[in-house]
Amino acid sequence: MSYSILVVDDSPLIRKMMKRSLGLSKLELGTIFEATNGKEALAVLENEWVDVVLADIHMPVMSGTELIELMSRDEIMGKIPVVVVSAERSEPAIAHLKKLGICAHLMKPFTPEQVLETVTRVLAEAAARSHT
């Protein structure tokens, strides 16, 4: 089984870093989709199968928080695991994201190993949930 991943970040540099990190994975990867903001991410999610979303918070047009809020209201999108990858350090803001159902918060700066460990864990947890 191959996993499709959606990387949502307005910085092309971060998207490249994420894709390179994921490329080091032993996971069988399908398509790695990219979006530069929440609105673009929703368009991908409406048309493609995605196993996990890696999303920044502070983005133009539609923030990561808005994206996660909209996903959580949708029956299908609400089941897709979301990992927030951001420089956000405010605990109330992180608590709000956790309340919205994010699976993990990866702080920038991140290492490729942290990305891989987090994505592998989140996918394993999602697989375990789907079998119960």
Partner: protein, 161 residues
């Protein structure tokens, strides 16, 4: 001098982020190091917090290229590195700012961080007329500078042109 946006915590988080993210290891500025002039990469980020303000990172263009190459895991002659230099400086400032806000205001505080605005320009380091708290380092004998400015009532309201 700002009572809140203090230089020491900013310097500490900047050293940590620049080393961890981009393998830029910061040393103190030697007393005998003169100013440098040339092409600079600059990024500014505004924030809304109990003391609103903005933070600016300035560094020589060749250090920006080094940062981009290290972030991407590429050689400096890779064309992608030149294209990514300003984005790298913006992203490093974003990371520094998140940690600096936590250091200044505490993790329990709600704040809002804007998006980095970047530019390339000719300039001098250290800046001739800093307006806020300034911290300076050297990376491989090149100066880099961070400036934190309060923008609340009675303070500076916009980026310097």
């Amino acid at each position: 001098m700002s009572q809140t946006l203090k230089a020491e915590p900013l310097a500490a988080v900047a050293r940590s982020v620049l080393a961890d993210a981009a393998f830029l290891f910061c040393d103190d500025v030697p007393d005998d190091l003169g100013p440098s002039e040339g092409q600079l990469a600059e990024a500014t980020i505004t924030f809304d917090a109990p003391t609103p303000g903005r933070i600016t990172l300035r560094l020589p263009w060749h250090v920006a290229l080094e940062a981009a190459a290290n972030l991407l895991g590429s050689d400096q002659d890779d064309p992608e590195v030149e294209e990514s230099a300003l984005a790298a400086v913006g992203e490093l400032l974003n990371m520094i700012s998140g940690s600096a806000l936590k250091a200044w205001f505490g993790a329990e505080t709600v704040w809002s961080l804007g998006m980095p605005v970047t530019s390339a320009r000719a300039g001098r380091l250290p800046s001739a007329e800093p307006r806020g708290e300034v911290v300076g380092f050297v990376v491989d004998d090149a100066r880099i500078e961070l400036e934190a400015i309060e923008t609340g009532a009675g303070h500076d309201q916009g980026p310097r042109r």
